[in-house]
């Protein structure tokens, strides 16, 4: 089966920020969370996929069509919700819907009405006059019903209230039901990552940290409460604090502990947010601190 999105050797330099080289393949029916520190290049990557930003090197294909080529037919297959919406301010929800709906062959008007209703979105008000949370809701109402095979959401819920965030998760789970759709969601919301994602694509200061299946990533880590003193730099060791050792290679660590007769009273897995924190801090020293937040949007 062809991937819905295929990225190979992608690189882009913007001023003093360098993104890549990146490789990524998105299969049908999966949800990928794009995770990274502020300024890691998440939004830039999504804009590259949308061909809003042009790559210096590498290829991006949506359903086997090069996005930076002359064939623009792939755009019907992608619904993109940017983090910062440009150009919508002077228009009402009605006007925007009348513009957007006819552009997508699979537009689902019933679903649009449903989302408008559950989020209680006023359609007669100008977009620019809405609060940021309501703007995000309207944006979702105008993006999800496009029923494109790839849905790209760039921090879709950052201003939304807690109940609405929960509603959105259910909406997206429901939306995925046909099984041939995919989502890429850039998010700092841990619930999005826990409840929605199958894969995590982790970026740090423009570099790819990895592309992980969620459980595999968590299984790669374990926390041990050591009952006896142990030397430094045990294989797999990532951190140690007050006799609590975190390992990114439990198998090796345990082999070493057993071999050297070091006992532990307890072993537990890590929460996904702890793993992400480790992934993004471990690499802090590599990236350096010269990167500002200029590529955040």
């Amino acid at each position: 089966m062809n991937p819905i999105l295929y990225i190979r050797d992608l690189e882009k330099t913007i001023d003093d920020f360098h993104l890549g080289p990146l490789d990524l393949s998105i299969e049908q029916g999966t949800i990928t969370a794009l995770v990274g520190n502020n300024g890691s290049g998440k939004s830039t990557l999504l804009k590259l996929i949308m061909n809003l930003v042009k790559p210096d090197k590498g290829n991006i294909k949506v359903h086997n069509t090069l996005v930076h080529g002359d064939n623009e037919s792939w755009k019907e297959l992608v619904a993109y919700q940017p983090q910062k919406i440009i150009g919508w301010d002077p228009f009402t929800g009605y006007t925007l819907k009348n513009l957007i709906a006819p552009l997508y062959p699979n537009w689902d008007d019933k679903q649009f009405q449903k989302i408008v209703e559950i989020f209680d979105i006023p359609l007669h008000k100008k977009f620019g006059k809405l609060s940021q949370g309501v703007q995000q809701k309207l944006n979702l109402a105008l993006t999800i019903p496009r029923n494109a095979s790839l849905l790209i959401l760039d921090e879709p819920t950052s201003y939304m209230d807690i109940p609405s965030k929960k509603l959105l998760i259910d909406l997206l789970v429901d939306w995925m039901e046909p099984g041939n759709r995919s989502i890429i969601i850039s998010s700092h919301q841990i619930d999005d990552i826990r409840k929605l994602s199958d894969y995590l694509y982790v970026l740090h200061n423009g570099k790819k940290i990895g592309h992980f299946e969620k459980e595999e990533l968590v299984e790669n880590y374990a926390r041990y409460w050591l009952s006896s003193k142990a030397p430094n730099n045990i294989p797999g060791e990532v951190s140690r604090e007050d006799g609590v050792l975190i390992s990114s290679n439990p198998e090796e660590t345990e082999a070493y502990l057993v071999e050297h007769n070091i006992r532990w009273t307890n072993r537990s897995s890590l929460e996904i947010e702890d793993v992400i924190t480790l992934l993004l801090s471990k690499n802090n020293t590599i990236g350096g601190s010269q990167h500002g937040s200029h590529v955040n949007s």
């Binding site: 949308m50 809003l52 930003v53 919406i85 301010d89 006007t95 552009l103």
Partner: protein
């Protein structure tokens, strides 16, 4: 082509709604301008180039002055300038050539009908014009300037679809210098060439009405394709961050 225009008009609907409100103001503006011309034609005879400046500026910048605030060019991020509507359209399944065509039509609708209106009023209410030019010459005169509005006026369009320009003090100074140079040329023009620019176009329209009109229309067509291709090139290359 017809299909493309239909598509462009379809995606222009939201913008036209906004333009509708501005239409009243543009109408008023052109009316006042025309009155100014009618009264200023005498002064023109005394090598006063102020009218030339107004005339040229009107055809180059007029359509931009009345652009609603929400549709004005901005620089969202980085060095690329664009209309917010261009960025909005690029995020949707709208082909780039349709976006370019839409920008051109939108500009055209905000300028051409009013310029045409101006020429009709000018002829109807200015006895000086009617004594100086017969109908054929006047038509030629109008065509010269309406065409100018296209091959010169469209030069303000590329910035709508992704024009890379660093905003620096140097660039600001340079663009001010360019503007100043245009004004100076217009003012100095009559001293070297006896008549002002507008006056010269009147002379051309009287002496060679057909040739002037044909050349102008030809220039307008070439101008249209030139700017359209330029815009297509820009929209393909720009980084809309």
């Amino acid at each position: 082509m017809q299909k493309d225009i239909k598509r462009a008009l379809q995606i222009m609907k939201p913008e036209l709604k906004i333009l509708r409100i501005s239409y009243f103001w543009i109408f008023l503006f052109y009316t006042l301008y025309t009155i100014l011309f009618i009264f200023g034609i005498d002064a023109q005879k005394n090598r006063f180039a102020g009218l030339d400046i107004f005339f040229v500026m009107l055809f180059i910048f007029g359509p931009l002055w009345f652009r609603p605030k929400e549709l004005q060019i901005q620089k969202p991020n980085g060095d690329v300038w664009a209309s917010p509507l261009t960025i909005m359209n690029l995020q949707l399944p709208i082909k780039r050539n349709i976006i370019v065509l839409k920008s051109i039509i939108f500009y055209f609708l905000g300028s051409f009908p009013f310029q045409l209106y101006m020429f009709v009023i000018l002829y109807s209410f200015s006895p000086e014009i009617r004594t100086e030019l017969d109908l054929i010459s006047y038509l030629s005169f109008a065509i010269i300037w309406l065409s100018f509005g296209i091959y010169f006026g469209f030069s303000s369009l590329p910035i709508e679809v992704g024009y890379k320009m660093k905003s620096s003090v140097l660039n600001t100074i340079l663009s001010l210098l360019l503007l100043g140079a245009i004004v100076v040329i217009i003012i100095v023009f009559p001293f070297y060439f006896t008549y002002g620019i507008v006056e010269w176009t009147i002379i051309f329209a009287i002496k060679w009405p057909i040739i002037s009109a044909v050349i102008s229309i030809f220039a307008a067509i070439i101008g249209y394709y030139y700017w359209k291709n330029k815009m297509l090139k820009l929209i393909k290359q720009a980084d809309f961050q």
